[in-house]
Symmetry: C2
Subunit: 210 residues, 2 copies
Amino acid sequence: MDARLHLLPNGPAGPGPRRADATRNHALLLDTARRILDESGVEGLTMDKLAREAGLGKGTIFRRFGSRTGLLREMLNEIESDFQRRFMSGPPPLGPGAGAAISADAVTRLIAYGRERIELLSIQGDLLRASEEIGDERYSSPARAVGLLHLRILLKQAGFDGDIEVASFTLLAALEATLILYENRAEHISMQRLADGWELLVLKITACTS
Amino acid sequence: MDARLHLLPNGPAGPGPRRADATRNHALLLDTARRILDESGVEGLTMDKLAREAGLGKGTIFRRFGSRTGLLREMLNEIESDFQRRFMSGPPPLGPGAGAAISADAVTRLIAYGRERIELLSIQGDLLRASEEIGDERYSSPARAVGLLHLRILLKQAGFDGDIEVASFTLLAALEATLILYENRAEHISMQRLADGWELLVLKITACTS
């Protein structure tokens, strides 16, 4: 699994320096991949281009990530993990903060969840949309499962009086990368309008008893 | 474009009988395709199997539908056209009926739209889900455009006080075949619960002013 083994068959015997090299290569590859993504989009991020721009062998890259899908998956994991940290333990209004009354806080956090997600999609949308096209992960990815659970907890705290499970799917579907990018790019609905639409949806389904 | 030309190079010269044959073949192929779909699902509907079970040449089928995608598209068009007829001009509660007061009727029709769509998905879900995977039609298919327009008209009639365009996308996303089938099959949420969840969503976003 050490990407340098192949490059340095006669290199130092101890694992220390080789591991440090591998870590450095790994960080270099991810940095380079992020830059290519910014410049050329998901389509432009090929293994050939990544090898050329990082100055490493293609073999190294494939051993490191398994495949282009593996590379995209790792980049996605970083983005989703960071987002999760923010909504699960970060500062308000997205995160719980400290000491706030739970019942007052849940609607604000629901609104912030969608607003921050739409903001994230306006920056990383192509990559996040790609994740919805990787295999059958569209609805069963770990990131989505965490998002659904988060929404269910907040809906319960907000006193939502309906089927929380169904409502969580509806809310998450409204924030799908594929949908948001279609609304924004093909239908020219601004991210601001999409965020305001989300806020209104949350207010209506939590504030109004049927 | 006449499917019989190839089968009957020395057949009757007039277009009449050949057209009648073509129409008959067309109906036979669609009937057979529907039966295969019921028995074996979308995956089981191959051009080979269709040719064998309809007793026609594969060439005839390809000339008629262009490709397997073309065949699926035509089957989808039939289903969507029928659904459109029902919600645009059919009997209430899905359709407008005759003489009812428009403002009282819109919420009922919104509820019926989702309930009937979920009912349709419980029967034709695999085929409708396939349409979401044909090319880039997931959001831009004509059937979807008609559905969005319909929802917008009803939201306006129901006095929805927010961004109608954004709300129509949110509502339609909640009824996507891919999502509904995932909720039902992978998450074991019954179609009844999904239909009730839709009704609550409609009631909350139309009855509640923010």
